[in-house]
Each structure stands twice: as C-alpha cells, then as structure tokens.
Amino acid sequence: MSTHVVADTRALLGRSLRHILRSPDTIITTAITPIAMLLLFVYVFGAAIDSGDGKYVNYLLPGILLITVASGIAYTSYRLFLDLQGGIFERFLSMPIARSAALWGHVLTSLVANAISVVLVVLVALLMGFRSGAGILAWLAVAGILVLFTLALTWLAVIAGLAAKSPDGAGGFAYPIIFLPFISSAFVPTDGMPGPVRWFAENQPVTSIVNTLRHLLGEQPVGDDAWLALAWCAGLLVLAYALAMRAYRRRFA
C-alpha cells in the first residue's frame, strides 16, 4: 500500500486545494487580521513604541507573520473536522489508499494556504515601507523556519480537528496561539516588561523564532536564537505529530 503514498497524497492535496480555490475567503480572512494589526501597530501605536534603531514595520513584521500562520491553521482543523463529520473521511479510509495520505493532504494544503497568506502580508508590509537587504540565502532561511513553524502548528491543528465535537471547537484552539506573540519580543522589546512576564516572554518559543527572523531580515548575525528557534519548531513538530498520530490511530483502529 505504501507504494501509493505519493499518488494518494497528491490526489487528496488536489482536492483540498480545490476547496481553497473555491473559497478564497479563507485565505483573505487569514491574512486580514494580521494586516489590520500591522496597520494598527505601525500607524497608531508604533510612534509610542521604542523598538531601537530602524523602522518599526521592519521590527514588527516577523511577529505578524507568525500570527498569520497561527490564524491560518484554524482552517486545517475546521476542514478536517468537516471531513470527519460528513463521512467522506471514512470513505477515504475504507478504500485501499495509504492511511497517512488522508491527513497529509490536509497538512500540505495548510502549507500552501499559509504560504499564500504570508506572501500577501509581506506585500502589504512592503507597501507600508518594509525593506530588507537580506540575500537569497537569508530569505530561504526565513522561508524554511516559517515552513517548519507552519508544519508544527498544523499538526497541532490536526489534533484539534480529530478531537473536536463542533466546528467552533475545531477552530477555537488557535486563539491562544494567536495571542502568544503578544507576550514575546514580537511587538515590543522584552526589556521593559516586569520580571515574571519578561521571564515568560524570553523563554517562550515565539521570541526566539521572531528574533531569528528579524536578524535574518535585518542582515545581522542570528546567534544562538536560531538554534533555539529550530529546536522549538522541531520539538513542537515531533510532539504534535506523535500526538496527532496517536489520536488518529485511537479513533481509526
């Protein structure tokens, strides 16, 4: 059966991509909140925020990109939940297809949809004056980290989709993740935060990921943050994947 993994995944990926093409609103709504935040923070609060040298939009963009991904993955749980509820998932699983393809179709779709949303947000940021002199390698590194981050969160979304009892529940788990960047170095430097908050902000995954992206885009050495960011993303990915597969096997023995 495993010989069909690629063909089956491609067939199911094509299916979910059609869903996105036919309801592009999911990509727009994914991008619209981060864009609104970008506008709000750059043009309203930005003047009051001391983010050091350089333009605030350059400082802000990495965190906004993580928020974009965090809001985009809610659609993965939602789509997975609808498949499970409608019975089409059981139809797939009762066919001689690779068992993993049914999930990978959704996971890869999440990558594509989030990539489009991220590009939209970056384009808006460019219009707002975001500039980066980063070379192609730095941009590839940025893309790589975002892909890893998206994969990790998407597998979390798979767990939520498998466990959800209602469509609202399927999407709702993403809110805490969307909120996480606020208590990090994404919007303001952590220096000014009171002790315990600062400790949390500096030791949660978003800060190291944001710092890494910021340094890559700002043509600065990434330092230890890069390793920390990779470790967080990879660790989260492995954990989420393992839990998702366990939930999947438990549900479909």
Binding site: L93, M95, I97
Partner: protein, 265 residues
Amino acid sequence: MSNETTPTERQEPAIRVAGVTKAFGDVPVLRGVDLEVAPGSIFALLGSNGAGKTTLIRILATLLKADAGTASVQGHDVATRPDRVRESFSLTGQFAAVDEILTGRENLVLVGRLRHLPDPGRVADDLLARFSLTDAGGRRAATYSGGMRRRLDIAMSLIGDPPVIFLDEPTTGLDPQARIEVWQAVRDLAASGTTVLLTTQYLEEAEELADRIAILHEGRIVVEGTLAELTALLPPAKVEYVEKQPTLEEIFLALVGTTTATAGN
C-alpha cells in the same frame, strides 16, 4: 437462531461473520453475530435504530475492530488483512459521503485516482451517464437533491468494480422517488454479479430487494432466511376480504408522476 441451509449455492461466501462481539465501554452493541452472504446476492440486515447494524458494517469495512470473533470479505480476514479487504469492497455510509465543494464529476475522478485506475476521467463519465447525472456532472455536489447526491454516492462506490458493496441505510431520509431510484441502482448492481450487504430499518425495503434477510436485534441475529422462510415462521395466512385503500406512497407517486427517467436506462 436459524442456520444457513442454502442448497442451491455452495460457493465460498462473499462475506462471513462468526461470533463477532463489540462493546463501547460497558455497553455491548454486538453480542455474537454470525452470518454468511453468498456471492452475487442481496442480503438485508434489518434492525431498529441502535441494533448494531452500523457497527457491524464498520467492522466489515475495517473502520472498527471487533472485540472477539472473526469476519472476512472475499476470503480476506478484516483483522489480519485489512489492505486486501479494502480492495474487495466499497462502502456507502449512512450519510452521503460526497465532497460538496467538488463537482459530481470531480468526486468520481477523485475516487478513481484513489483507486489507482488508469483513466479516471473516462470511468467518471461512464458512471455519470449510467446514473443519469451527465448534465449535473459539472455542478457542485452541494447543489444536488438528496436523490442525486445518493446516486452520486453509490456511483462513487462502484468505481474500480469492487465485488462487494456495503450500503448502510441507503434510503434513510430520501423521498419516495429517490428511494425507488436507489432501489433500481441496487438491483442493477446485483444483476451484474456484485454482492450487496445493505442495512435498513424499512421492512418494505428488505422485502423489495433482498434475497435473504437477517434481523439484528439487541446485538444478535434473531432470525435469518429468505422472505418466504421468514413468512413461514408465522402462522399460515388467513384469507380475509379487505377493502384496499391506496397507500399514501401510491397516491404521492400517482400525483407527482414517477419520472423514472433516472432509474432505468
């Protein structure tokens, strides 16, 4: 419990279930089910809601593991060779499992690709024609009526010509016309040699379609046989004169007109 005594056919059964039990938590759903379905026949599993029909179908469809007992489809054991079993059957579940965002044709092509057929497009077009869906093939399944959706659902199950088809309550929630369309599709299937195991809560449906009928009650098969054998279990019929009123279904169909352009071809 009546045992199978089919003198006409002594072939290997297409579906064999022996001593299957299943409980969800402390609630026993199946308490030792035995049944055999002969190849090419229509077998109806009759039972009220909660009798365990769907649970049995899900076990046969490799979606659920039995607690005890064995089950096989086309000679392949569902527990040890689920991959071979999945190549041998197709499932039409209780709710039409079609992708509403895709068109009817795209649904069929998708299943064709997942069954690794060389030319899914041609198979899709053939099935659209066979189920009178050619005109609707380019429309999203979300726009289909209940009957069309069910026909598309069954058409999707036929892709790859599986020798066995499970139909779980194929006509629940359908209007009378759509039900007749589905019945016709099931008869055509059996005529072409496919083994059909269907569950239903409508006695009439079992009477209409099935070669053999089993009644599943509280997790056990309480009786199994042909319609004639089941009828013989009750005292012989008395002849009574009854003024025959048309059934509401007959009235409905007479008024609406059985436009069964859809059913035959």
